[in-house]
């Protein structure tokens, strides 16, 4: 996955992501595709969660999956989640949970609870950073004000790092996360971070917006054979749009 929060020259905040899923879940040698990735695409929908006829929050989901990986609370914050691989992973959390320790939250239910209940960017950040969880994760959060963007690196117990958009003077107009701790180098076989950063630099803040960020997320290898969709959000207007993604050959498998 690749998630980006950024602001244009007017301080308008954008948040976008590619959702990549299906690695090692069956390679179709005839079509050069991942089997589960192909099956997931037709189930993708934007969901508008409404109460009393008013939209409370919007998400992008694979139907049948009720948690949240991508969502917006209009006018308040935007949120995406990227997978974090760790030996102290969800399997350990589930084992503890089965033994009766229910203190940890399920990752995707925590994001949905946050979208439903958090009243502000700071409130959302606090919930995502400090709620014990069953599995590690990266939460990428965007707010309404310039500079309000962060990547929360989660262990099962707590945030081990909160990386603020405003903390990187050279590129303070955006923050970008793939599937690796930002203070470490990504695995060389799976470095989407460097290409994505280069495309963002080429885009420049002047080009920041729905179309520009879509271009970045459509650039290989940020776009790859695992990419199921690109979601684009603008928090003030509450805008969320989503496009199915395909990666025509030649294309990297992940």
């Amino acid at each position: 996955c690749t998630s980006i929060v950024g602001q244009d020259l007017n301080g308008r905040m954008y948040h976008a992501r590619n959702l990549d899923f299906g690695l090692f879940l069956g390679w179709d040698i005839k079509n050069n595709t991942w089997e589960i990735t192909e099956k997931l695409r037709p189930t993708i929908r934007i969901l508008e969660f409404q109460r009393s006829g008013k939209t409370l929050y919007k998400t992008v989901n694979y139907l049948g999956y009720i948690g949240v990986l991508t969502g917006i609370r209009p006018g308040v914050f935007t949120l995406t989640m990227n997978e974090r691989f760790n030996i102290d992973g969800g399997f350990v959390g589930i084992f503890e949970w089965l033994l009766g320790n229910h203190t940890g939250q399920w990752m995707s239910f925590l994001t949905r609870d946050t979208l439903e209940q958090a009243a502000s960017y700071d409130d959302a950040k606090d919930r995502l950073a400090n709620t014990p969880m069953l599995a590690p994760a990266y939460y990428i959060l965007g707010g309404t004000k310039p500079g309000q963007g962060c990547v929360i690196t989660r262990s099962r117990q707590k945030a081990i790092d909160v990386w603020e958009m405003s903390s990187q003077p050279a590129n303070s107009w955006y923050i970008l996360e793939t599937n690796y701790d930002h203070w470490k180098k990504p695995m060389f076989l799976d470095d989407r971070r460097t290409p994505a950063n280069k495309c963002m630099q080429k885009l420049t803040q002047k080009g920041m917006g729905i179309a520009g960020i879509y271009d970045v997320l459509s650039s290989k290898p940020v776009l790859n054979k695992l990419t199921t969709y690109t979601a684009l959000m603008q928090v003030d207007s509450g805008h969320l749009e989503c496009w199915l993604q395909y990666c025509p050959d030649p294309c990297y498998p992940f």
Partner: protein
């Protein structure tokens, strides 16, 4: 046809908007409904696609050998009880999805906790 890693970028321009056939449609989830009923209209319409996904996943599991059949049976028959242990309203929402789709509750639960299982 692809290069050896690390992969270098090919920054594209002017790809937006893509073909409209790729635009993801929107559906409404009414939170005023009981949790069991919130997803019924969506799941009924999308049953073949969800079923197709789960069949593909089970087929992938079966490729590992006959012993995996026992795991699939365990999920189908015994995993459903976990729905009662999940926080409200999620357990009831999953039961509603299983009822509306006709899929085993255990498979619906497994699909929803997939992330926790596979992060290792």
């Amino acid at each position: 046809s692809a290069q050896v890693p690390p992969f270098t970028e090919k920054c594209v321009q002017g790809t937006y908007p893509p073909d409209l056939s790729r635009k993801v449609p929107t559906v409404i989830i009414n939170l005023d409904l009981k949790p069991q009923d919130r997803w019924t209209h969506v799941v009924k319409d999308m049953k073949p696609q969800i079923e197709d996904l789960l069949v593909a996943f089970k087929s992938f599991i079966r490729d590992f050998g006959n012993w995996t059949e026992a795991i699939i049976k365990l999920v189908d028959n015994d995993f459903g009880y976990l729905a009662d242990e999940l926080p409200a309203p999620y357990g009831d929402e999953l039961k509603g999805i299983a009822t509306a789709s006709g899929l085993p509750l255990g498979e619906v639960v497994l699909y929803n906790i997939f992330y926790e299982i596979f992060t290792v």
